[in-house]
Amino acid sequence: MSLALALLRRLAGTALTLLVTSFLVFSSLYLAPGDPVSFLVRGRSPNPAELAAIRRQFGFDQPFLLRYWHWLDAAAHGDFGRSYLFHENVAAVIGARLPASLLLVTVATVLIAVVGIGAGGLGALRRGSRTDGAVLLMVTVGAAIPSFAAAILLRSVFGVKLGWFPTIGNGSGLLDQLHHVLLPAVALSVTFMALVTRVTRSSMIDQLGREHVEVALSRGAPRLAVLRRHVLRNALGPIVTVSGLLVSGMLVSTAIVETAFGMSGIGSLLVQCVDQLDFQVVQALVLLVVAAFVLVNTAVDLLYPLIDPRVARKETR
């Protein structure tokens, strides 16, 4: 199978995934209890004619499939509609909050990768030692700390008591933003770090026990080279898979951390818009997240053959 064809198939798959998801989300919002009109009229008691006008204005009077079609048609042209909650175009609403979330997730990802693989590797190499014990303890404790608890702890110690970090806001300028985002990123990634550490540790222990590794080591092959070429490389498969899933899921699990640190990102935006039935924003956000999910997993899939040549051979066979 040629590379072009494989790529085409993947693209088609992505498009289909997005289409199906958009339909599912559209229908689930349609079926959700509560009437968006009741939010639109807020403290007023409009007469039936006014209600009908509002319904017409927002297209609530059209049949479901037609509404979906209109939305899909506009979305295909890059128009995701207008948020009735924020009185702005959806693209502007999301665009204003996306960079903060991306930075948060990126920093968290780096933390997860560095700490997770580092600590996991250390534990595997020193298996049974005190260091390994410490790593295992860290993993157990880390996995048990929900992000909101970590957020409170970090905020009160490093923000309020020590005053090293700001407790609120996104910051401006890259350095200031990093300064603002570090505590939230740690709070967000504690559990995930523990998870990746555990996967790394067990995966590397598994590889360390393999015959070819033991043979290479006993024959006096350079330890570092063996670790890099045979142990880490073979262990990377599960690590990358788990990390990919975690990262793409993180984009929307940021709401609690964002709120705790007074940041505005798409996590809290999603919660707010779901609660207030702001269809347009929710729809666009879900698509965005699904796209990110597909993208990250595609990247993982593309990385796989590089890590493990056997996969590449299987695919071209």
Partner: protein, 542 residues
């Protein structure tokens, strides 16, 4: 009318406050009647470059027609002005109108102030006033303030600087509402230019207040700049800039006060009164308010349809206990659905004689049980809707549940999400199967009619569809009365009926709370901050 949304947004803040273990306020040993005192004004401040203020939520718009909630009005009060002005002592004085007359009961004539300029430099004209007021009548705008304008027939320019509003029926409250957001005057040209983007983060607003709109970073902050050509020299802003930051998490807000990142904020979480009262970073003040915590009876078809059961329920609620445990003693048991402050515009001697004879419901569970039994209460189910708004809401719910049990009802608590809680105030379908829910109801004008009008037969906020012909008659008489004393008498009669029949159960009044960091001073703590340019007087300390 009111503030469904306060419950809403404060609610959202509360959920996170709970997850962050802010804890519930415990009844302190030292909570007594002198737990707090009201402050009229703090020491005047000097010139200041900038200060930062917290909002518990981001406004969805600062279009005055869509501003009917604490966050947008807190900001907008400093940027846009109304024809009349609501002062810190809750009296009303001229604003963008220098005078008004009421030649016939249904005609109100306003003289527009000369020499006022919008932030873009254009002069204020009668056309601007007409265009601004008419938006409250336009279904396409969907103004939150359509209710105060319900009796308006037309808004016309009747002179170079004169605007006349004609009503369908006499309504003295219409004129009073012009001191709040419904009386806001925006430049007609700005309205035209911004179109449906008016008041959103990219377009903002262009008004006449002491501050101008300088920028809005969605999700983060709104910045205002001092307007140097402001017409009222006595309220020229001391600060060059104000930055409003959105902090939905109550604990994050308190932390930001404590770390000095934020200089202050209105509506301090009740469970932080103690902590902030003892803060080294600033001071906590309490001010005049029109807020009453009520338990709304939203179903009169069930056991609560009998007035005796409602009376028994109120008698069985330990309201002193709620004030002590829920708000650390910062509040008073309420004897009506409005505060005494709401009567400030009525002749004082009339008021004293009028409000004396209100029916009281002192805490007496035994007597309450007897009364309920005589009304046939015998283990009927009542559903209390509740949402983890904040610690005081939780304590109110528990107290009401206890009281319902004490008089022989079988209370059931229905916990719903904060945003669904908001829907209780707007969506009859959401209220289905709910007998009771709580609210913190404030009035946007000093007049008690603002509250009692919402209990009239068929009114939007009459959630239990309560109806009493005598109450309606008294209310109609009050709304149509031009003479303040006559209006007060008729309103007091309506209040008397409401307190006998208890369509809602009054729980307690609470003052406005505000935290001021050590850098700033000059604020006048009062609920008028929703419509009065309160930030103008805030300046540097020392």
């Amino acid at each position: 009318m009111t503030r469904p949304r306060r419950a809403a947004l404060a609610a959202l803040a509360g959920v996170f406050a709970l997850t962050s273990c802010s804890g519930t306020a415990k009844p302190g040993p030292s909570t007594d009647a002198a737990a707090y005192q009201l402050t009229d004004r703090t020491a005047p401040g000097g010139e200041l470059d900038s200060f930062t203020w917290s909002l518990f939520a981001e406004p969805v718009s600062i279009d005055y027609a869509l501003s009917f909630d604490y966050p947008p009005n807190t900001v907008l009060a400093n940027v846009c002005e109304s024809l009349l002005r609501w002062n810190p002592d809750l009296t009303t004085s001229p604003g963008l109108a220098t005078a008004f007359t009421n030649p016939t009961p249904t005609t109100w004539v306003y003289t527009i102030r000369e020499g006022v300029h919008f932030h873009d430099g254009a002069p204020l004209t009668a056309e601007d006033v007409v265009a601004s007021l008419r938006r409250n009548l336009d279904p396409a705008v969907g103004s939150d303030w359509a209710y105060p304008f319900r009796n308006v027939k037309s808004v016309e320019k009747t002179g170079p600087m004169q605007v006349t509003v004609t009503l369908n029926t006499p309504d003295a409250t219409f004129n009073e509402y012009l001191a709040a957001a419904p009386g806001t005057v925006e430049s007609a040209a700005a309205l035209q230019a911004a179109g449906k983007d008016y008041g959103n983060p990219s377009k903002g607003v262009d008004c006449t207040g002491p501050f101008s709109f300088a920028g809005w970073t969605p999700g983060q902050s709104i910045t205002l700049k001092r307007y140097d050509d402001y017409w009222d020299k006595s309220l020229r802003a001391k600060a060059k800039q104000v930055k409003f930051v959105f902090l939905p998490d109550a604990t994050a807000r308190v932390n930001a006060f404590q770390s000095g990142e934020v200089d202050g904020g209105w509506m301090v979480p009740a469970d932080s009164y103690k902590q902030l009262g003892a803060s080294a970073k600033g001071r906590l003040y309490y001010g005049r308010s029109t807020t009453v915590a009520d338990e709304v009876v939203s179903n009169l078809q069930g056991p609560l349809g009998d007035a005796r059961v409602r009376q028994a329920l109120l008698m069985a609620i330990d309201r002193k206990g709620i004030v002590k445990a829920g708000v650390g003693g910062v509040g008073e048991v309420a004897d009506a659905l409005v505060t005494r402050n709401n009567w400030n515009n009525s002749p004082k001697d009339t008021v004293d004689s009028l409000l004396g004879g209100l029916k009281q419901y002192p805490y007496d569970p035994a007597k309450a049980k007897e009364l309920a039994a005589s009304a046939g209460v015998n283990g009927q189910k009542v559903v209390i809707a509740s949402s983890p708004l904040d610690s005081q809401s939780t304590i109110i719910t528990q107290a009401v549940q206890q009281a319902a049990t004490a008089i022989g009802l079988k209370p059931e608590i229905d916990s719903i999400s904060p945003d669904k809680y908001t829907a209780l105030f707007t969506d009859p379908a959401a209220r289905k199967g709910i007998d009771l829910f709580e609210t913190f109801w404030y009035t946007s004008i000093t007049d008690p009619l603002d509250m009692y009008g919402s209990l009239q037969t068929g009114a939007f906020s009459n959630y239990g569809n309560w109806s009493d012909p005598q109450f309606d008659a008294a209310l109609n008489e009050a709304v149509g009365a031009a003479d303040p004393a006559a209006r007060a008498t008729a309103t007091a009669k309506a209040q008397q009926i409401a307190m006998d029949q208890l369509p809602w159960l009054p729980l307690y009044t609470e003052p406005v709370s505000v935290f001021l960091g050590n850098r700033i001073t000059g604020l006048q703590p009062s609920i008028d901050y929703l419509y009065y340019p309160w930030a103008a007087t805030v300046g540097a300390k020392g």
